[in-house]
């Protein structure tokens, strides 16, 4: 339990520094048990250095939809699923997937790829709602790998 809390604290610190967010905004994110598409895009795209750090959620969502990184039928306030978020992260960070992802790029194999990279820990399932704390952990892994050059 202590390790988990320390990890969460470190990722919060990473979030504040890397994502350029205020502590209040980070608190709100960590308390969110069902992150929306717009909120997810608002954190992923700046973390991947595609948009500026202070981009509004609506603009981030529009940018992600224009690129085809979120379903065309999704509304900004809809809850994003874990497999949909996996696809957003794979695309935003240009992560290389497995053979199946290369042949059939989509949320199913994006989820599998993040699972194989240990980005997703604990109980997980493709259709799970994404919590704010999990979003921070996944982005932390993606930023770590980009720094190492993987």
């Amino acid at each position: 339990m202590r390790t988990k809390l320390l990890t969460m604290f470190l990722f919060m610190a990473v979030g504040v520094l890397a994502f350029g967010q205020s502590a209040e905004e980070m608190d709100a994110l960590l308390a969110d048990e069902g992150v929306s598409f717009a909120r997810a895009a608002r954190y992923v795209l700046p973390a991947a250095e595609i948009l500026s750090e202070d981009v509004p959620e609506a603009d981030a969502f529009r940018a992600a939809r224009e690129r085809g990184w979120v379903p065309s039928s999704a509304a900004p306030d809809d809850s994003i699923r874990l497999d949909q978020f996996s696809y957003l992260v794979m695309k935003a960070f240009s992560l290389k997937g497995g053979v199946c992802y290369s042949l059939f790029p989509g949320r199913r194999y994006a989820y599998r790829e993040l699972l194989s990279r240990d980005y997703l820990q604990g109980r997980s399932d493709p259709s799970q709602a994404l919590s704010g704390s999990r979003l921070v952990l996944i982005l932390g892994h993606a930023l770590d790998e980009r720094e190492v050059g993987l």
Partner: protein, 391 residues
């Protein structure tokens, strides 16, 4: 088939309550060629399904479909793979039900898939684990559940012999410094209704932990009682030692050593060798179970570039006690030496992608011809390959 269907129906019912799921198919092909058995090919398809059940449960189902080609003949086999329902409570207590991986702390008595139920209670620096398992629902020809000659007696029977295994374990981390203690008591009961029965009990105890930074070990001793029909109980023993050294430097490599010992019988008709529940092979080419055997192995493994890993090892074997605790072509009926021979094996594994793995292995076993083996027994060599893709 009714015996197989019942737990599957239960777990399928759990699947109906699942509110989230994933599924897939793993395909593998493994050709191999050796001078002993010629060319063999095993192609396997493993469909699987996983789901979260409620807020605390999870379900995993899989099945194995094999096509085996041996000596020019193809045979189709089927067995249920891992199927497991797991429930984790808020206090961390874990309940497993179904077919899942079971192993005692040493890995010597039992190591493999078993059907049953297991409860694990975590405490501050320790845990308590109890379980009950059954062996009679497995495909007899595709697992290592063979303890006695009677187990393989009826070749027309699909299922393994009926045995029940009860186990209770206690593990304590950081008992003194970083050393951990593990103790487990196991009891195996033979449920066959006719013929000779074989019951066994085991007490496993040992320690594990770091010696110095980069050097760690696991060391276990096992005392076992073997009870056969119309025979006095026999006390037997076994031991295991694993040492791993991570050399300093940037390379992701390790040097490892392993010793496995199991007592043998006093004579052809008196006593009994140590008998493990799962007859896991102790070598890559020379593959006896750990019964009446001393096996010593050392090796080196390294991971290169994150996609390629290499492993090379060599070992030697000695027979313990008398009688025939294991079978292998060429073993002498009247050996003049306990030394069985030496084996070397090397393997390379390449994972170009997260869902694709390729491996290649080659090795040789040089028997002690004229000693433990019949004079003129040739060395055995084996070349193997495998490809695995996950869809």
């Amino acid at each position: 088939m009714k015996r197989v269907a019942l737990p599957f129906v239960f777990l399928a019912a759990c699947a109906l309550t699942a509110w989230a799921s994933d599924f897939g198919l793993a395909l593998s092909g493994a050709p191999k060629y050796g001078n002993a058995d010629g060319f063999e090919l095993t192609a396997k398809a493993t469909p699987w399904f996983s789901a979260l059940v409620g807020d605390r449960g999870s379900l995993f189902l899989s099945a194995d479909f094999y096509l085996e080609m041996e000596e020019g003949e193809a045979q189709f086999q089927f067995d249920m793979g891992r199927f497991e329902y797991r429930l984790v409570t808020t206090s961390g207590t874990t309940l497993d039900f179904g077919r899942f991986s079971v192993a005692d702390p040493s890995g010597v008595v039992v190591s493999g898939l078993l059907d049953g139920v297991r409860l694990e209670l975590p405490m501050a620096d320790s845990s308590l684990r109890v379980g009950a398992y059954y062996t009679g629902l497995f495909n007899k020809y595709e697992n290592y559940l063979c303890m006695s000659a009677a187990d393989m007696g009826d070749l027309d029977t699909f299922f393994s012999s009926s045995r029940v295994l009860a186990a209770a374990a206690y593990e304590r981390k950081n008992l003194f410094g970083e050393q951990g203690l593990a103790v487990e008591a196991l009891a195996q009961f033979d449920l066959r209704s006719e013929g000779d029965r074989l019951h066994t009990q085991y007490l496993v105890a040992g320690f594990s932990g770091p010696v110095v930074p980069g050097l760690s070990y696991n060391a276990y001793g096992i005392a076992s009682l073997v009870e056969e029909t119309d025979k006095d109980p026999v006390l037997t023993g076994a031991a295991s030692l694993d040492v791993t050294w991570l050399p300093p430097g940037e390379a992701a490599d390790r040097v490892y050593g392993q010793v496995r010992w199991a007592s043998g019988a006093k004579s052809d008709t008196e006593g009994s060798p140590f008998l493990p529940v799962t007859a896991n092979p102790q070598g890559a080419i020379f593959d006896p179970r750990l019964a009446g055997l001393l096996a010593v192995r050392g090796g080196y493994a390294v991971r290169l570039s994150g996609k390629v890993s290499l492993d090379a090892s060599a070992g030697t074997f000695l027979k313990m006690g008398e009688g025939q605790p294991f079978t292998y072509d060429g073993l002498s009926a009247s050996p003049t030496s306990a030394w069985l021979g030496v084996e070397a094996f090397a393997a390379a594994r390449y994972m170009p992608a997260s869902d694709l793995a390729l491996s290649l292995g080659a090795g040789i076993f040089v028997p002690n011809a004229g000693g433990a083996f019949d004079a003129g027994t040739d060395p055995s060599y084996l070349v193997s390959a495998a490809v695995l893709i996950s869809l």
